[in-house]
Amino acid sequence: MATGPFELNSYVGRKPVVLTLLMALTVLLFMTVTGISHIFNSQQQSLAQRWSQRGAVDLKAQHYPEAVADFRTALLYDRDDYSFQLSLAQALLGLHRTDEAYTYLINLWDRQPENGLVNLELARIAAGKGDTWQAIRFYHNAIYATWSGDQDAESRNARFELIHYLLGIRATTQAQAELIAIDANLDADSPLQEQLGELFLKAKDNQHALSAFRRALRQNRRNQAALAGAGVAAYGLARYPIAQRYLEEALAISPNDQISAQRLHKTTSVLMLDPYRPQVSAIDHDRMAIHAFTVAGARLKSCTPSWGPAATAMQNLTKNWNSLKPHVNLSGLRRDPDLVNQAMDLAFSIERQASPVCGVGNDDDQALRLIANLHEEN
């Protein structure tokens, strides 16, 4: 029986020959398909690149719907590309389609748990959903993750973002810890010292805030924000002379800074009313005590509750103030230095009693309370 060129029947009795022929055919077909595959893959890669480039442009221009469509198309041609999926997730986040973006991101996270950007985006989504535990976890992942660009800067930015988040949810203690971590790793001449100081201020860590602002001022003595911040931090630390100096300098640079002006006014009031501060002459010491006593008297007059225990207490204080009033003058204080303490204690008591009943009062009243607190601490 005649056999064609591809008839293997004649070789059936010689199985090794058949297998060898099949092997040769396999090699031939493999090479052919490899060639076809190369053409196919080149075309797919080219299409993927073309669409992803369009997507990148749209994403940069914040044209999110177009970017989503572009990256989806790019993924048609290279469905496993990590960067396309990440960009798609970012575009989806731009459209506030967080659930969809989350699914992409969590898959990417499965593939590369160490990717900083993925962790950061996941942290943002968790933060947006109010899932604090997950948010902090992903933020920390992002801080210690691998970043494609400047590793230190990206990591620091992620930590700054975490700090903002913690301050937003009033987790001050955790925010302070994160700030101290940044502080330890930040160069003294870093332009971020001012930002650090601001965050320390928000985290109510005045000591570190003042240090950070001072470092910022070393770089630029006329940094108005740093001067104002240093003034606020010093004020918070009850270091009023320093606060006054910084705030005055800040206002000199920017006279329209209302907040610094207010803070300076309070600081000045404290300095004018505090007879206990060091390096004050005897005459100024007495004058300050008289001034404080007078402020307290004015407070008594303006705060007269009509009934209840507060009214009784205020009446008693008024009685005490009236009995002490004739002696609180320059000559009286010179004769009896202990009167200063009595007058100041009474003034402090008046402010403390009046505050819950009649509100915080004017700047002088607030200054007196600050002095009272400072005096008690000392």
């Binding site: 099949l22 493999f30 075309q43 989806r72 198309t73 048609l76 699914t103 898959n107 499965d110």
Partner: protein, 556 residues
């Protein structure tokens, strides 16, 4: 050097490699067709949406009618026909036709999938190789399923599912010889496919954690909905396919074009997702792109689109559409449940994946394959419990409401009566215990004398007595033989010395009755003994018992 079975195993590897290469090229062809017919963008223009599937439909009809008539129809059934009717013969022309026409159809947006054509391409290649090698008829019959497994494995990137499917739906039985060949071909085709297309699973979803076991109820609801949807889908095919086939022959030139046009209209009206195989959109559904309401609409539209494509005679498979419908339905049911019961843990990917398995189990009626398919296409084993629960429910509902599986419906519509694997699985088989008689009152011992045995035999009305041998085994002796021995004066001899053989075969109550047929014509009475104690007689069976039981069974 090469025994026949080893040689066949080696050939299976080559079949797998060739099928894998063919499927890789088929995938490239589909993508190229899509790019050139529908454009490179994810959402084609309306003009392309309307023109590409309809004009390509005209070409498809002409190709099917004039050049590749056998390319029409289910690849699974054609492979089964090759196995049971045509001695493994599938023309290579069929593979070529399936390759070209299915690539055009799927690439132009017809709602069909590449898996069934891949399966048939594999089977056809295997058949061609077998013919060239002049394999024996037995081997030729098996070679088409071996190729089918390779084709399906490469299409799904899922060797276990492919092997299971071919065993479950095509061959219907497990033997070491078949399994070895099928596994080798499936694995080698997947290796080839991964070489060219990568080894990533078809879908990627995060690991699933059931917060509480009661969440399985939510997946059970998906099983119920999926079961009902499967029945609706299959009933639509059962109803419409013969009607379209009966239409005037000239309409067959237009049917794929009209189906394509209508599908294009669906796409242009805002649901282009239903066009083509739809794997990209399944992935997007798993990533929560669509609302649950839109997912439900997509599931419904996909059923319509697939019905249109399939009943119009356009070659292509129903695996991918089934998975698409399941994914959308799963996402929709999960989303709706979450909207109603917000405390349920909700992941669109999980529900979509389970939904795929549900439709696979309910529509294709391959319950085992459906479970493994979901695990393999996702590479995620954490969802196995919801998948098993939901798939089982869908399968049971589908089987109850639609007793004949879709593959059997299609083969009967095509005028063939192929063996139904589901019916075979469900078939009640007779066992030895159904026919055996209780143990006889008198059981002789091998150490008894013939006189003693004769005295005992006098008390029995049986013609043959069972003899328990001394150490192990059983034998039998006819009463007439005992009488003859007495007459010969051998009454004082012990039974053991006169028995013709050392022992006779024994049966166990759970064995199929077919097994008994091998013995009952050679031994008049066969002992049925306990598996736990081979010296304990559970009963006896004779040829008459077997035949009477078969006669009664036929009447039942």
């Amino acid at each position: 050097m090469f025994r026949e079975d080893r040689y066949f195993l080696m050939i299976s590897v080559f079949i797998g490699i060739f099928s894998g290469l063919a499927v890789v090229c088929f995938r490239y062809a589909i993508d190229w067709c899509r790019i050139y017919l529908l454009g490179t963008g994810a959402t084609p223009s309306h003009t392309r949406l309307l023109l590409a599937p309809s004009l390509t439909g005209l070409a498809i009809a002409a190709l099917v009618i004039h050049f590749f008539p056998r390319a029409r129809g289910s690849g699974v059934n054609q492979t089964k026909a090759a196995l049971y009717i045509f001695n493994g013969y599938i023309p290579l022309r069929t593979a070529l036709g399936k390759f070209i026409i299915s690539a055009l159809a799927i690439g132009s947006g017809q709602s069909l999938g590449p898996e069934d054509p891949s399966l048939q391409i594999g089977a056809s290649l295997a058949s061609a190789i077998g013919r060239r090698l002049g394999l024996s008829r037995d081997r030729m019959r098996l070679i088409a399923p071996v190729g089918a497994a390779a084709g399906l494995a490469a299409a799904f990137n899922a060797p276990i599912s492919a092997v299971l499917f071919v065993i479950e739906e095509v061959i219907g039985r497990w033997t070491a010889g078949i399994l070895g060949s099928v596994v080798l071909s499936a694995v080698s085709s997947v290796v080839v496919m991964r070489w060219f297309l990568g080894s990533q699973p078809l879908f990627r979803i995060p690991a699933v954690e059931l917060l509480r076991p009661s969440e399985l109820i939510a997946y059970s609801v998906l099983g119920i909905v999926g079961g009902l949807a499967s029945v609706a889908f299959a009933s639509g095919i059962e109803l419409l396919r013969p009607r379209c086939a009966r239409m005037h022959p000239w309409t067959h030139y237009l049917q794929p074009a009209i189906a394509g046009l209508l599908i294009g209209v669906i796409g242009a009206l805002g649901a282009p997702q239903v066009m083509g195989a739809g794997y990209g959109y399944m992935d997007e559904a798993m990533h929560g792109r669509f609302t649950w309401q839109f997912l439900a609409i997509l599931a419904l539209l996909k059923i319509v689109a697939t019905l249109l494509s399939f009943v119009s005679g356009t070659p292509g498979g129903m695996f991918a559409p089934t998975l698409f419908i399941g994914a959308m339905l799963g996402g929709a049911v999960g989303g709706a449940e979450h909207a109603l019961l917000p405390y349920l843990s909700w992941s669109p990917g999980t529900y979509a994946l389970v939904g795929m398995g549900v439709l696979f189990a309910g529509f294709l009626r391959a319950p085992m394959t459906s479970v493994f398919m979901v695990l393999e296409v996702s590479g995620n084993y954490s969802i196995i419990v919801p998948v098993i629960v939901a798939n089982t429910i869908a399968y049971l509902i589908s089987r109850t409401l639609m007793p004949v599986p879709i593959f059997d419906v299609l083969s009967r519509q095509d005028g063939m009566d192929l063996p139904s694997m589901e019916e075979q699985r469900e078939e009640n088989i007779l066992r030895v215990e159904d026919a055996m008689q209780p143990p006889p009152e008198i059981v002789l011992e091998a150490g008894d004398t013939i006189e003693k045995a004769q005295r005992a035999a006098n008390r029995s009305r049986a013609e043959v007595l069972i003899v328990r041998l001394r150490h192990s085994g059983w034998n039998s002796i006819a009463i007439s033989a005992l009488q003859s021995l007495i007459q010969e004066g051998k009454g004082d001899r012990i039974l053991e010395s006169v028995l013709v053989s050392e022992s006779i075969p024994v049966l166990h109550p759970d064995q199929p009755l077919d097994v008994a047929l091998r013995y009952v014509d050679r031994w008049p009475l066969v002992p049925v003994v306990n598996r736990a104690n081979l010296r304990e007689l559970d009963g006896v069976i004779s040829e008459r018992d077997v035949l009477e039981r078969y006669r009664d069974f036929g009447g039942e």
